[in-house]
Amino acid sequence: MSAAVSAPEGQLARVWQRFRRHRLALAGAFVVALLMASALFASVFAPQDPTLLDTSLRFVPPFTDWRYPLGTDELGRDTLSRLLHGGQVSLTVGLVAMVTTVLTGALIGIAAGYLGGIADTLLMRFVDTMLCFPQVFLLLVVAAFVPPTLLSISLVIGLTSWMEVSRIVRAEILHLKEQDFVAAARALGASRTRIMVRELLPNAAAPILVAATLKVASAVLMESYISYLGYGVQPPLASWGNMLTNAQGYFDTVPWLAILPGAAITLTVMGFNFLGDGLRDALDPRLRMDP
């Protein structure tokens, strides 16, 4: 125990070192942190009430009036405030959808991988089947049925995008379950549930974390798209997607109304994608079993 470093610190230090080398990932992490902060304190940062109408001040261009830094929309609402509150909505949906996706995917992946046999065959056939449907089709059909609330939108997105996660987790479990520490737990008489939750799940944390990060990106994208089509977040609640829908009507004259929410979506998706990519490199699976 001479060169002993406490475990989390030692491993985290190595992960951090790899991560730091990935410049895009650092940028992604920065963007994500910024977005989280602005969403968390949206009402503090927002200069105006995002729902406040003022028809005398329609289409104020950006950077012309300090009270409306990014201008106003067709109803005279402050664009910056709407962007901030829309971000709150988008990130909330993104995170809740991600949690749904990861929980469902991990649960199914672990069950299929650890139980094997018929359970594995049936679950993986189910995954194959779900993957035959284009996700946007599946998402829109379900979204059109259920009354759109933030929770239902998040759940629908989450429940139509867990399949890849379950495949990733299953592959990881198939590898892990052959390890002797699992055999040791079985020799002690541990139940299947205990083995799946206590022994296997924590060891699959790295790929799950990577998948989770990337899933926030795709969930934000999906939310904005279905909101744009009118099946997602409903006005007057602002979301980047429905801001785009409104902006489309005044596209030729006031393009900034469409550019701003689109840029916000792009920035968010990129932030999470780059972060996830960097995490994947940093959390190289081989690291975990290092002596």
């Binding site: 035959c132 089709f137 994208l221 785009l244 780059f274």
Partner: protein, 317 residues
């Protein structure tokens, strides 16, 4: 080879059954069921709904309905639209050419571009070009297709007025190839962006892998020129994962086409899907879900067969 194809076909059957169960289940488990649109419409009387229910066979037990519906799918009777009573399959097939045209042109552009970028990146690994290309692909993959579409319309149609902003033909020019091509440019560009990024990433790693194999080293040792090595040895081997990618990416291609079609008002299946969604046309929606899923299954089947044709070892597994 025949045995291989037969086995692959057999394997597709449970997938088809699964797809039909999910499609059918989705429509029937939905709140209000397939008749929600009528029950919500105050001008339609309760007895009318009952009549429609019987006409569409919705009064029968669920498994009977499923079997009837599934045999219909197999025999080509995909049901009738709620509004207008047209055969669903006709409605879908009518839109197929437009979607195939868009998907085909986008895929061709994407494969050509993506493959070239990927191969060049693999050959000159870590060069400035490679770094730019890989970073660029990462950016492109994060670009929301529908916003990219809107921006493309703003720049090329509204500001520069180079290209039309949507649709397939100019009014009165139906059948004019030149007009069609002009309308095709923007949607193709938008749909191709993400696919190009995916293809450049995959082909780069496929070629990198192949180039480090023994037979490539042997080819170099034998003094074959680089171009020959690439064409004769690397290409056939790198083709396998790329053909598989073609199959796997089909659902994403459909998703992308749907998004692109809605932005550009392209009269294909994606547009039909959104219209059917807005009108709560359950038979059409169900039909389209089945159509795309079957399309995806067949696409993957063909990809597998193509791979087996290239590499005899695959057949024996």
């Amino acid at each position: 080879m025949i045995g291989f194809v037969a086995r692959r076909l057999l394997q597709a059957i449970p997938l088809l059954i699964g797809v039909s169960l999910i499609g059918f289940g989705l429509m029937h488990l939905a709140p209000g069921g397939p008749l929600a649109v009528y029950t919500l419409n105050p001008t339609i009387q309760a007895q009318d709904i009952e009549r429609i229910r019987i006409i569409f066979g919705l009064d029968q037990p669920i498994h009977v309905q499923y079997v009837k519906w599934a045999t219909g799918i197999v025999s080509g009777n995909w049901g009738y639209t709620f509004f207008g009573g047209r055969p669903v399959l006709d409605v879908i097939l009518e839109r197929l050419p437009a979607t195939m045209l868009l998907m085909g042109s986008a895929l061709s552009v994407a494969i050509l571009l993506g493959l070239s970028i990927g191969i060049l990146g693999a050959v000159r690994r870590y060069s400035v070009f490679d770094v730019l290309a890989t970073t660029g692909a990462l950016f492109a993959l994060s670009f929301p297709t529908f916003w990219f579409g809107l921006m493309a319309i703003y720049v090329f149609a509204i500001q520069l007025r180079w290209l039309p902003s949507g649709g397939m033909w100019e009014l009165g020019e139906e059948g004019n190839i030149l007009s069609l091509l002009r309308h095709l440019v923007l949607p193709t560009m938008v749909l191709a962006l993400v696919i190009t990024a995916t293809w450049s990433r995959y082909s780069r790693s496929a070629f990198l892998e192949v180039m480090h194999q023994d037979y490539m080293r042997t080819a170099r040792a034998k003094g074959l020129p680089p171009r020959q090595r690439l064409l004769r040895h690397a290409f056939p081997n790198a083709a396998k994962p790329l053909i598989a990618l073609l199959g796997v990416e089909l659902p994403f291609l459909f998703s992308g086409a749907l998004v692109t079609e809605t932005i550009f008002g392209w009269p294909g299946m994606g547009r039909l899907f959104v219209d059917a969604l807005n009108m709560k046309e359950y038979p059409v929606l169900m039909g389209m879900m089945m159509f795309t899923a079957i399309f995806v299954i067949i696409g993957n089947l063909l990809a597998d067969i193509a791979i087996a044709a290239i590499d005899p070892r695959v057949r024996l597994q």
